[in-house]
Chain length 287, copies 4
């Protein structure tokens, strides 16, 4: 049977020699099915994988039809951000601690991949956030996130004070350890630990989840994903902006962070039997 | 200047003699402006208001252009549900404990009403929920709610067990004191006390908030408002369904409650200076 | 080797035919070791156990040296309350859903019991609460609880209003679904679901945990176990008092509930390898 | 009438010129009553206060009978830690944002102080925590705190992993933003923002409150104040230890922090009308 994908790129978890064997198994499995296999450069080097064409991660979107990630949610996040300007679908084989984003279990990897290659899958679009940091009216930095953009106090600050506006309307001044702005995808990650709600991926929404707010009634808020969130650091203090948990930019008093939905979305490929609620049940130990 | 409304119906808080005076002031204020004033029958009787045409609450939608409520959120909820099959806008003058729904303060009531009558207002649509209770496959009851539909344990039950499905997909079995299904409007009411998030009214969403769930990871979930939520009482126990806090139907094991967005919406009239976030700041003592 | 206990009473979970076999195995195991075995009357009848002396639960304290419970935490709670006026130690074999109180697993029941009979165990004292309900100054009811005394709204009430005093000092008026007054033992039960902290059993404390409080800053409070807590129902509404989850008395407006530490304690017998934190790790799925 | 105190030391909030006037009023008020007034050196210099003997903060315990603080809780914390090795009582005049520790309002400062000087007050002892940081088995640092000792992730870490033991018993490994170890006094500060319970100062307890724990069942725990808490940083990551919110020591993987009750206590002087619950009602906007 002909594969639904002609060229597949394989990407592995950073510095994880234990995935060499499954990575090779996967590559061979595909090659046997006349699929052109590309291995991401850094992965090939770290795992010492030879005999397959290598590709820089930035070129995967232009050269492959499908990106397969062996790793955990962290790897998926990194790859999703790297490929967000293409429309290539992503699928993950869970090799990490969790796996809200990595649908395939490593045990049944080849079987599941077989189904996917014969066209048995669904594609789901997930929104990303885009944030721009302004200092003195000038753009200091901008980046994107699949899970969350976080304005966080640093190690030496006791707490920070943020002023939050939504679509130009003043919401409040908040004294807290920080603020998580999360996509529905991100609501099962850091935002959940901070007391936020779970937003279904089918909901066009953004969650604003304060981290240890001084005022106990500063509860998490969910707003329409078309809204623009503006966060101003109103009180000096060691703080920074993080994109999917990666530190980006240290902030100083008066800096503004404008967060809004990114124009691009990420395509996640799910096996037919995938159920979002089944995943939540398993990962959150419901019942 | 001509009024934006020809006929206005006035409705007062149940059994509240202290609103007689402001009610009369309001009626006179309107009559002076050549507005046809209707007073809701029960209100007129309880407050001994004479000289104005009375109207049954069910007929207000067909006979008036605007319904003005003097009371608290409880009165607004009752009126909203009674008038939901019409499209008449509602505005509230706050006479109760809170007032997430009653925009006008009683202090500046006449001044604010003057602005509204000259057309200075915005209309906002708010969604309602509709729920049908099934026993042995037959409809036992159905009703609507502007805030929330709650499946709740009764006084003698320790906890209840519910099975929850969304759009036909099994979510989980939950052992808890109950489950709140809330509109965005309802997320600042009971759902907030139970640990739920605040959903902005502009978000087309429904919140599912468990009440004291046995499993601590049973966090609140927000889903698309087009979804259908099915709740089955899987373990016998004293329990019931409440609509906006009013008890409706006692449940027995096996009963199903189907909750979905109502086809009709409620029109809330806001003065121009109304801000949802300003209201949250005030009511929740932010900052 | 001689047993540390001469007479052991066996008590089974209510209406649970599946425990007949382990119950008989346990009785035989003890009889073989020259221990006088008593079987609680209701247990003997429900499980059709013959050949052993039966004993009314109220007489176990006076006739046996050790009470062994086959069941879950619910059975342990019931037995603990029934035997609280004696000083007989209790040990539980877990046959229920949870088992914060039932240390022995059913798999290794006989082996564990063998160790206990040879004196390899620790005894831990756990405090109970005692509550008296007053109406118009007269005692309406009084009872005890090992987990919690709960003042709870009933099915038809939206919420209730309670006035709380501690040692004669006014604390606050609380609008909520109710209030849980919990011993350290009870803090891993209902109180945990309501957002309360875990109090270590070695802490001489009582936790006051509001259930869905209207005011979000009404956080759980822990006080010295020597304190007296007085709860007054200040607003009429369907409500009641529960002892370890069993309904006791319906309340009317003005009723007072005085909760304080009971004079008697319960003795729990633990195998030597028992660790409170290990139990928490297992039951709460830590790590 | 003779004063209950012969020598009173006055200490002001850091860099707060607005307290010059009340500070002088207080000093004059005392001097008129034949009390020997000492002004803390830094305070005298910053406020340009002349004509009173100055004293280094470290010498206040040995030279004065009472320390009066004009400032907020932050100033009280600093002074309490500086004076903890003496037994001098402290009283605060609230000039800051909050005031869980500063009993006297600035409006009625002189009147309240008049009562105190005539002996109308109560003394309350509050416990402190002492923490020692070990690296490779050697003491790296040690310090004390009246509110809390916090092990916290820094700005660049996503989360940290801590292993927690209590009295030598393993509790769990926790992945979180950090852990707050709080005295009862500290439970109305940072620990409350992180979801911790309020421990009454009369409770001999320590609260362990995880900050945004990955595992949702990692709830706050309260233990006996005689317990020793050992925290080991098991996964490398930018993190540090803070004492009452002041950064102390950066941690590296394998570092251990041993937290236990300090041997010394702080004496807080309260006016007779002081009520802990009234203070909670006011500060937390109860009712």
């Amino acid at each position: 049977m002909k594969s639904a994908f002609k060229t597949v790129a394989l990407i592995g978890k950073y510095m994880s020699p234990e995935i060499r064997e499954p990575m090779l198994a996967l590559a061979d499995f595909m090659a046997e099915r006349q699929i052109h296999v590309l291995v991401e450069e850094q992965t090939a080097e770290q795992l010492d994988i030879k005999g397959y064409t290598t590709v820089h991660i930035k070129d995967i979107g232009a050269t492959a039809d499908l990106a397969v990630v062996l790793g955990g949610d962290g790897t998926m996040l990194t790859v999703a951000r790297a490929l967000m300007h293409s429309s290539i679908p992503l699928v993950g084989v869970n090799r990490g601690r969790f796996g809200f984003l990595t649908d395939l279990s490593s045990e049944s990897m080849l079987e599941s991949m077989g189904h996917i290659l014969t066209g048995k899958f669904n594609i789901e679009q997930r929104m990303l956030l885009s944030a721009t940091i302004f200092r003195d009216g000038k753009v200091l930095n901008e980046d994107s996130a699949l899970n969350d953009v976080v304005v966080s106090k640093g190690a030496t600050a006791r707490l920070i004070e943020l002023e939050i506006s939504i679509d130009g309307q003043f919401v409040h001044r908040q004294r807290s350890d920080g603020l998580i702005v999360a996509t529905p995808t991100g609501t099962t990650a850091y935002a959940l630990s901070a007391g936020g709600p779970i937003l279904h991926p089918g909901l066009e929404a953004i969650a604003l989840v304060p981290i240890c707010p001084h005022t106990l009634s500063n509860r998490p808020i969910a707003i329409n994903s078309a809204s623009k969130v503006e966060i101003t650091l109103t009180e000096s203090g060691d703080s920074c902006v993080l994109f999917d948990g990666h530190q980006s930019t240290a902030l100083v008093q008066g800096d503004k962070v404008l967060v809004q939905r990114a124009q691009k979305m990420v395509s996640l490929l799910h096996p037919l039997e995938h159920s979002h609620f089944a995943m939540l049940r398993e990962k959150l130990h419901w019942g």
